[in-house]
Amino acid sequence: MQGPHPDGLALCRIQSALAADVVVGAGKMDIPVTAVYASDLMSDVLAYGKPGSALLTGLNSKQAAISAYMAEFRAVIFIRGKRPAEAICKFAEEKGLVVLSARDDMFEACAKIADLDGTAADPSPSEDLRPPMVEEETIRYAFLIDGHDFASAGMVSTQVKAILKTVGVEPALVRRVAICTYEGEMNVVMHADKARTELVLDDHEIRVVIDDEGKGIPDVTLAMQEGWTTATDEQRALGFGSGMGLPNIRKNADVVDLTSVVGKGTRLEMRFRVI
């Protein structure tokens, strides 16, 4: 959402454009919103809504306020003069959500907000409010690994595994990812100070990136090759081999990218195709 107006549009400008009543949050009208999400379908709001948005909706129900809160929206604007019930206001008040009630219908309200564009001195703030509407089915998780913390080694791979199982990734693939993540995690615990692990999952690929701060690997090619020569068939049959971390990763991941700067750290990216 980085556009010319990273701060977005102040709620008071929307409120005056719509001549909307401020139902909750009169003191918060200078807060900016960075996108507008116009929908009555709360499952979508929750899945695709961007944090910092304003929700325009005709669904006058507590679910609207709860979903907006969970998706980290800043405001809920009820259209067509719908006035939220006491329970909704109370919830919004508690959670710091601004609630407006506008008389316009959804199209008029959208058009007016988009039109604020023309009155702004700066170029096109409305562009900011229109982030590309990509309902991308991607999910990301981040984990931290502490180097030298042998007691917690394996925690990240256990979490990664649990996530993949819940999503319903095929068990054999889950295991490959878990083994690679475990090996990567062990490398961090043994050789680095700390690392950030990222899991990115979409419908065609699983990516695990382990970015560590540590001594680094002097010869990446050698590190990768060493395993190839020493790993026995038997260890391969087992799916792992003690001290065979990298080759084991290479065997279980579809794409491995290892880059390292001596004295700084190592970045290990492992990718797995989802069939």
């Binding site: 929908s39 325009l56 509407m133």
Partner: protein, 111 residues
């Protein structure tokens, strides 16, 4: 404004046969109750709903067409039912808000 004149500037994709109708207003909602209460004949209905009962609602008040927004894919049974009752369904990748802004930008004003 004619429905046919909106298809290309708004990058709409027709999923059914589209009769050339006059679009008199824009109605955005994902609730059939709202259609019952507030939609007008001749409105273009923007929604993310794709269940086949949208055909039932759009037909009752004789809306100009249904535009399924947010890039939702529309099940075949909905498209089939729409064709049977001469209800036009189009789809687009943009959000309700984005499409509103575009409609406004191409000069559409409700009657």
């Amino acid at each position: 404004m004619k429905l046919q004149d909106m298809i290309s500037p708004l990058e709409l994709k027709a999923l059914t046969h589209v009769e050339d109708k006059e679009v008199e207003g824009i109605f955005i909602s994902d609730m059939l109750s709202d259609v019952m209460s507030s939609a007008k004949a001749g409105d273009l209905w923007l929604t993310v709903q794709t269940h086949k009962n949208i055909v039932s609602a759009a037909n009752l008040v004789d809306m100009a067409a249904i535009v399924v927004t947010h890039g939702k894919s529309v099940p075949k049974e909905t498209v089939d039912l729409a064709d049977r009752f001469h209800v036009a369904i189009l789809s687009c990748d943009g959000s309700n808000f984005e499409l509103s802004a575009k409609l406004h930008a191409i000069g559409f004003r409700p009657r």
